[in-house]
């Protein structure tokens, strides 16, 4: 999967790029509007991750250009502007999603995956990891063709972990993903622990093995060992 990242802050863009490459994407970056515009016209990308405020232009114009050219690529806007107006404008122009800075890389990854899944249905409607099969559309989890029942929050948590396979998710990241950024953090950490415990128990009961590993002091990671 090809991703073009348009972001003018070099510190931010390099960490995002390395993360996405680590997730198995091919990722190109650019800090200039003109460069991004040119690349968008010349090459095919599966997904664009675009910052609105660029030194020599507006990221929304790239969205407009892509839509005018009927590009099949998914578009995710990342911006520091979090006013409702900007969000509505971005989504109206045809962006698939809008992520406000600052964000967690895992959140970015989950959003990109969701966009790609929506854009390119084939092969993406089932996620198969080890003996686990997850069907996001019907919110089902199967172990060896046998369904296990998870609560909605447990399902979201498992999907988030699977989507960010191999990447350590901090408790803050998980809390924000599941409960939004307004959740009091100290409280939500307890919740996360109980949810993880329940998921592990349910997976163990189905002989699925312990895929969720604890990273001491930081958080959790999903890994097929």
């Amino acid at each position: 999967m090809n991703i073009l990242l348009v972001e003018d802050d070099t510190g931010l863009s390099s960490s995002i790029r390395e993360f996405l490459v680590g997730q198995g994407y091919v990722c190109e970056t650019t800090a200039q509007y003109s460069d991004a515009d040119l690349k968008a016209r010349l090459y095919q990308y599966d997904c664009f991750v675009v910052d609105i405020t660029l030194p020599d232009g507006n990221g929304l114009d790239i969205v407009q250009t892509l839509k005018r050219n009927e590009s099949p690529a998914g578009i995710l806007i990342i911006s520091a502007r979090d006013s409702l107006n900007d969000k509505v404008k971005g989504l109206e122009l045809g962006a698939d999603d809008y992520l406000t800075k600052p964000f967690h890389l895992a959140e970015l990854n989950a959003r990109i995956k969701a966009i790609l899944r929506r854009r390119f249905q084939g092969g993406f409607d089932r996620i198969e990891e080890g003996v686990l099969t997850i069907i996001p559309d019907t919110r089902e989890v199967l172990v060896a063709e046998e369904s296990i029942s998870l609560t909605p929050k447990e399902f979201d948590l498992l999907l988030f972990l699977v989507n960010n396979q191999g990447h350590v998710l901090s408790k803050e990241t998980i809390a924000e993903h599941l409960w939004g950024s307004f959740m009091d953090q100290a409280d939500s950490f307890e919740f996360i622990y109980y949810h993880i415990k329940n998921i592990r128990k349910k997976l163990n009961n189905s002989q699925a093995g312990n895929y969720i590993q604890t990273v001491y002091g930081v958080g959790y990671t999903f890994r097929i060992s």
Binding site: D9, D82, L105, S170
Partner: protein, 424 residues
């Protein structure tokens, strides 16, 4: 309470008071006139009786004794009264069972211990009626005109104040955040037109301020959120188990850099706020050339690193009355810019004239409007790591201290001219 209601109430109260006073006055005036008339008649009558009595004696008195309005009392041996007595009285009319007002004059005639006391009367009955009818007629006319006046007043006022009410309605529904200019309400009345103009100006300024503040918040949030995002993502990468130690250090260094940017941004914004709030006092006399030399000395490392040649010309001494940290902040910003945006092996020329400081430096050509760089978060090259707040701070200080500053670029030569107000 509406202005119209209130003014109508005042109008009515004053009018009723005036009406009562003038009505009473009129009534008494008419009565006085009537009394004067009656009294004159009575005096004439008395004169007539006295004259006839002197001519005809007792015979005349006998003849008039039965007249209706004359009463002659018995003979007195002494003079019953020395002066004439004029008074009001009430008598029963012969054919009616009703007391009627009369005016009477009593006097004495006669000589040598034979005196007659005579009282002549004149009925006030008819004249009283007259006074009453006149008063009622006048009163009624005044009352009618009063009602008419009130109605006209109400009508006239409501027409006069119509544009004002329209203005109020317009104000109520006007939103200065919208793009729409405050609309004009058609009126020929100067005061309302003035009000309209002032409102338009005021809302115009509000609109401008609002746009500025909005732009500033958006810019500030962008400038802040981006380093925060960089910190979060870099730290997130740094605690991944698969990352080699060398990369991990890179991530942490990147996060550290962003944290520093954030910290610098915060202190610059705090300085701007403190300047705006006027938190710098304690002025002292500052010798500008001295201060410039002092700052240049502290920046010697930077100057040496870029191998910049500095030339100062002192044609006049400049001394100004200012807070030391403010002037330090301003000169430091200007000199730092001259060094930072200079080219290697470049030059800086500084000259001190009367009330004027000129800083020229070689640098990269800049095609945009140099004055734009005074704006907040404006940078010559947008991707540069500088905050874009230095010149806004300088401008804020100039604004505060009544300095004027101009910035011009000619080819690769950047010139800043700072003019101080002349000292008294």
């Amino acid at each position: 309470m509406k202005l119209l209601t209130r003014s109508s109430i005042y109008f009515s109260v004053f009018f009723i008071i005036i009406l009562l006073l003038s009505g009473t006055g009129l009534f008494y005036l008419l009565r006085t006139l009537v009394y004067e008339e009656v009294d004159e008649y009575l005096v004439l009558e008395k004169q007539f009786i006295q004259d006839r009595y002197e001519e005809q004696g007792l015979e005349f008195l006998d003849r008039i004794r039965d007249s209706q309005n004359i009463m002659i009392s018995d003979v007195f041996s002494v003079l019953p009264c020395t002066t004439d007595v004029l008074q009001d009285t009430f008598l029963v009319l012969p054919h009616e069972d009703e007391l009627a007002p009369f005016r009477q004059l009593s006097f004495a005639v006669g000589t040598d211990s034979t005196y007659y006391f005579i009282t002549i009367r004149k009925s006030l009955f008819e004249t009283e009626d007259l006074v009453e009818s006149i008063s009622i007629a006048i009163g009624f006319t005044i009352l009618c005109s009063f009602i008419l006046l009130v109605l006209l007043n109400v009508y006239g006022q409501s027409i006069l104040w119509k544009p004002f009410r329209e203005l109020l309605t317009t104000m109520k529904f006007y939103d200065f955040r919208s793009e729409v200019v405050f609309p004009e309400v058609p009126t020929k009345i100067d005061e309302f037109r003035d009000l309209n103009t002032h409102l338009t100006n005021l809302t115009g300024k509000l609109k401008q301020e609002y746009q500025l503040v909005k732009r500033f918040t958006e810019d500030a949030s962008h400038e802040m959120q981006t380093p925060v995002a960089a910190i979060i993502t870099n730290l997130e990468m740094s605690f991944q188990e698969t990352v080699p130690e060398e990369r991990r250090r890179n991530y942490i260094a990147e996060a550290y850099r962003s944290a520093n940017t954030l910290s610098r941004l915060h202190s610059a914004l705090a300085t701007l706020t403190r300047l705006e709030n006027g938190e710098f006092e304690d002025n002292i006399h500052i010798d500008i050339p001295d201060k410039v030399r002092q700052i240049l000395k502290s920046m010697q490392d930077l100057i040496d690193a870029k191998k910049i040649a500095i030339e100062t010309v002192e044609n006049a001494s400049i001394s100004i009355w200012i807070n030391e940290s403010i002037i330090d902040l301003m000169l430091r910003n200007l000199l730092q810019n001259a060094i930072k945006h200079n080219v290697p092996n470049g030059s800086i020329w500084i000259s001190f004239e009367k009330n004027l400081l000129k800083i020229e430096n070689t640098g990269k050509p800049y095609t945009g409007d140099p004055e734009r760089l005074f704006g907040r978060f404006r940078k010559a090259i947008d991707s540069s790591p500088s905050l874009g707040l230095g010149l806004s701070i300088v401008q804020q200080i100039c604004h505060l201290e009544n300095f004027t500053i101009t910035y011009s670029v000619e080819e690769a030569l950047h010139t800043i001219i700072l003019t101080f107000p002349s000292m008294k």
